[in-house]
């Protein structure tokens, strides 16, 4: 909530700052004794869409604030004063710089009556506005400021859920080949032929990273094939929860393949939470056990290239997938196949080959179409404004752009 308030402050400050500073040089020459007038039309309301504890005070600029034409600026800012009774005593709760027209007082107690007045500050005191109030703060049940996030979230979610549902009803969907995932089968087959193990790295982050969740679900489908082929798999993990989840996942895959007896907890073992300690161990496993195939699926940081290069040096087939933009180049350079960003999240759906999972991929495509449509609309509106100079396009463009504004 405080972020929202600070955004409001920031925006008012931007405009206020621009407004006042252009002429503040001239202001210095002015005598500070010139009588300035207080801010007009002061209002105070409960801050919208918050969890309580905040009241927003608004005002119209003092006529002596910079208004675009005035030669001089004498008001350097506004002091917001608060009291619990109309007679005072009033104490300052904050300061807004010149040109600002609102301030969020985030130090209120819900249900208490407050009275406000706003001082137009000059370098030597300043006039005060009339007292307003009472006003109380309270928490709300819906954050109207995030209505746009809500609506866009609904649109994107619905497009995905719609296609999951329609695929479940049996509608046939086309999904293109994804080379990296087509190679999974072949890579497991190769390890089986060579009688060497498969190394699976589910990233180095904990389960609270959605990339790790993706990595573990992909592990589920990989493990199913492994169980059928009776290949050995090694999953060193750098987090304990990932270890537990990976064990559940692999066990389920062995049961699904009808070979629960072949499963052993030893396939998955914890190494250390430390990023580079983990890598030191994984490198050791690679050069000693010489896996035929290495999977890297999840969230990676700098260690990505250390593992991928060591894996390359032992001649393993390597399939990587991550949504860490900074590490993608290294996987692309050192691995045979790399799932880029979105493909990592699509992988488990693709490998599952279940209609409803594939349906969600179609939904993602619709989401991308919506995103492109949105960009195109905004770009066209603003470009039309530049070309035609018709203000309406600018207004429409700004309205449209604000749909994606986080506040």
């Amino acid at each position: 909530m405080s972020r929202r308030i600070s955004r409001i402050i920031v925006f008012s400050l931007i405009f206020g700052g621009i407004a006042c500073c252009v002429h503040s040089g001239a202001a210095l020459a002015q005598s500070p004794d010139a009588a300035v007038r207080p801010p007009q039309n002061v209002r105070a309301i409960d801050t919208r869409g918050d969890e309580g504890g905040s009241i927003t005070v608004m005002w119209d600029l003092s006529p002596d604030d910079y208004d675009g034409t005035a030669e001089a600026v004498t008001v350097i800012g506004y002091e917001i004063m608060r009291a619990e009774s109309p007679g005072g005593p009033f104490a300052s709760v904050g300061f807004a710089s010149a040109g600002a027209t609102r301030f969020a007082d985030a130090s209120t107690h819900d249900g208490t009556d407050y009275y406000y007045q706003v001082t137009a500050s000059t370098s030597s005191g300043g006039p005060v506005s009339p007292v307003i109030g009472p006003v109380r703060s309270s928490p709300q049940w819906f954050n109207v400021n995030r209505a746009n996030v809500f609506i866009i979230g609904i649109i994107l979610s619905m497009s995905i859920i719609f296609y999951i549902a329609s695929a479940r009803r049996g509608k046939k969907l086309f999904i293109r080949r994804i080379a990296g995932l087509e190679a999974v089968q072949e890579a497991i087959g190769r390890a089986t032929e060579m009688g060497r193990p498969i190394l699976y790295i589910p990233g180095i982050q904990d389960m609270d990273d959605v990339q790790t969740v993706a990595g573990v679900t992909i592990l589920g489908y990989v493990a199913r094939t492994i169980a059928e082929y009776d290949t050995k798999i090694e999953v060193p993990t750098s987090r304990s929860i990932v270890m537990s989840t990976a064990r559940e996942t692999i066990k389920a895959a062995y049961i699904a393949a009808g070979r629960p007896d072949a499963y052993s907890d030893d396939a998955v073992h914890y190494v250390t939470d430390e990023q580079f300690g983990y890598v030191a161990a994984v490198d050791g496993i690679m050069v000693r056990d010489k896996p035929a195939t290495c999977f890297y699926m999840g969230a990676f940081f700098a260690e990505s290239l250390i593992m991928a290069e060591t894996g390359n040096s032992i001649g393993a087939i390597q399939i990587a997938g991550t949504a860490m933009p900074a590490q993608l180049p290294f996987f692309v350079a050192a691995c045979d196949y790399t799932l880029i960003g979105e493909e990592l999240f699509a992988a488990s759906a693709y490998l599952s080959n279940e209609p409803k999972q594939l349906g969600s991929l179609k939904g993602q495509d619709v989401g991308k179409s919506i995103a492109m449509l949105a960009i195109a609309t905004g770009v066209i509106l603003f470009t039309l404004h530049q070309v035609t100079r018709v203000q309406w396009f600018m207004d429409a463009g700004n309205w449209f752009k604000d749909l994606f504004l986080l506040n």
């Binding site: 609270d208 989840t245 430390e274 161990a281 050791g284 495509d365 905004g378 770009v379 504004l405």
Partner: protein
């Protein structure tokens, strides 16, 4: 203190230097010294993290509030705040029930909580920070004029290029359409933009990585061998 004595400092430097060389020996080939360093690293780092979790999470965020809650319980004050903590405590204990075969299935409850938490939280954060912010930044005129009304060809071209590149890149990610024909060509253009992104990031990172090596060599040459000043 004894640890501040010059001998001890020298000893610490020697330990650090030998460990440094041990790890570097892996570049030549796997060997016993590397294996030794690896074993040290795994042991102390796992211990280090557990100690950190213990003092920085378990005690201040679970232990202390529970003790405080118990105190206020006996003094008759409200204890709702600490009662809530029995939820994570319970989930944590369930996690340990894996160790008992009969109750092992209960450990899926905390896992289900964790995955649900991750899914719910990340859906919102990625919707905001990736989708909406990027869309907002993408919306800008592809034709630009300066204040005097002159056409800014270069700026306009750059923005157009970014917009086209973003679209082409998104085309590449389409799953439900074969990369063939006109669509395929745009998707191909998208891969070119992705390759530029990867090449740029790769080239740009090299300097940072070299700095790390310079740092290590500087330690070996200056602090340990003292051959450079």
């Amino acid at each position: 203190m004894w640890m501040d004595s010059p001998n001890w400092v020298t000893f610490g430097t020697w330990v650090a230097a030998l460990l440094t060389l041990g790890i570097m020996s892996f570049l030549y080939k796997d060997n016993k010294v590397y294996k030794f360093c690896e074993a040290v690293f795994i042991g102390i780092s796992a211990g280090y993290w557990f100690v950190s979790y213990f003092w920085q999470t378990l005690l201040p965020r679970l232990g202390d509030p529970l003790v405080a809650g118990a105190k206020s319980f006996f003094s008759g004050s409200p204890i709702w705040g600490s009662l809530v903590l029995f939820i994570p405590l319970g989930l944590g204990v369930m996690m340990l029930l894996r160790l008992i075969p009969k109750t092992g299935w209960l450990s899926r409850w905390p896992l289900a909580f964790v995955v649900g938490y991750t899914a719910g939280l990340r859906l919102i954060t990625f919707l905001q920070s990736n989708a909406m912010t990027q869309l907002q930044n993408s919306v800008q005129p592809v034709v630009r004029y300066d204040a005097a009304g002159g056409f800014l060809a270069w700026e306009s071209f750059n923005i157009l290029l970014v917009t086209v590149g973003t679209f082409a890149g998104l085309f590449y990610f389409f799953f439900s359409k074969e990369h063939k024909g006109a669509f395929g060509r745009v998707a191909r253009l998208g891969t070119w933009f992705l390759m530029i992104t990867f090449g740029a990031a790769f080239g740009y990172t090299v300097m940072g990585r070299m700095s790390l090596l310079i740092g290590r060599l500087d330690f070996l040459l200056a602090d340990w061998l003292k051959v450079i000043g």
